[in-house]
Symmetry: C2
Subunit: 187 residues, 2 copies
């Protein structure tokens, strides 16, 4: 199993955005949509051995966590708009204290970063100042285009996350996920 956790501090948490202008109306759900497709799609299908948690802390209704389960996902298309529509459905689903299915393979829960407590260790935090990436199991934690807040960085440190970097160039969240997968694929 490969586990990713992406933290979004800005994506709207009520799903009230326009699919005709995703970057301009959603708090950049496009960033998260691309991370979802990077996490699951290969040329010929869906990676069944992956789970992705998106911790949504943006306005107006945080926190919510959306969970994507590779083995249960259906109809995940590579284009941004289709995936943003799935995010929208999840954010419009009433989140309970336990996981509630919005569409097949996608669930939502009223939870913030504490969701990490139940994820596989060790934790790796993608960070420009991190050490080298050694492909191994655990949970890979990534920020969105704005990165983590200082408080979130501190809580990741407290959780024992090891900071890792994928190279000298700072990349987008979805690009980092592609590189982690490739590292794990070629171990």
């Amino acid at each position: 199993m490969r586990t990713f956790l992406a933290i979004s501090n800005v994506m709207r948490t009520d799903g009230e955005f326009s699919l005709k202008d995703i970057p301009g109306t959603s708090g950049r759900a496009d960033v998260i949509a691309r991370s979802v497709t990077s996490a699951f799609l290969t040329s010929h299908g869906i990676r069944a051995d992956v789970e992705l948690y998106v911790v949504c802390l943006g306005p107006p209704d945080p926190p919510k966590t959306i969970r994507f389960i590779g083995s249960e996902l259906k109809h995940l298309n590579p284009d941004e708009r289709t995936t943003a529509s799935l995010l929208q459905k999840a954010l419009r689903t009433d989140p309970g204290g336990s996981w509630t299915v919005s569409t097949p393979g996608i669930q939502v829960k009223r939870s913030g970063l504490e969701v990490l407590d139940n994820l596989p260790k060790p934790f790796f935090l993608l960070s420009e100042d991190g050490g080298p990436f050694r492909p191994e199991g655990g949970t890979y934690v990534l920020g969105d285009h704005r990165g983590l807040t200082e408080e979130q960085m501190a809580s990741m440190d407290s959780a024992g996350a090891e900071r890792i970097s994928l190279g000298p160039v700072s990349l987008h969240t979805d690009q980092c996920i592609v590189l982690i997968h490739n590292g794990l694929d070629t171990v």
Copy 2:
């Protein structure tokens, strides 16, 4: 300089598609849009040392080649729709026998695969049956989601292209570009 060439056999070559349904109306301009953003965008800007050639062989007006020049590109956003709009503008520009600018850093020309004659050698063709990737200069040639035709594979062989593979999992064009960049970044 890093040079990529992507071959699309299906994207509409007249630019007559709807930005509201890119995958459904454009012959998958979304695939090419994602390849453009992978080729040029990092977390903090545009890779100035990159050129991308998209050889467009789809209906109804082939061949056309669109050239993206990193050092001249402006306003490249990471979302698919904005980039598809730039592709649309290029495909609606009358292509001459020499490069014609459609928007800053983007040019179009009436040319097919023969554009390769002027690109830096050696040529590397991404292929599932290829040998290992050794990061080095030259031109990296990729297909779209449908891959190359047998005839195109043969002409790449004739051009002396070395077939390379990035790992055991077959990936999308944009994902391959991310991996090639990272390989070159970390040499």
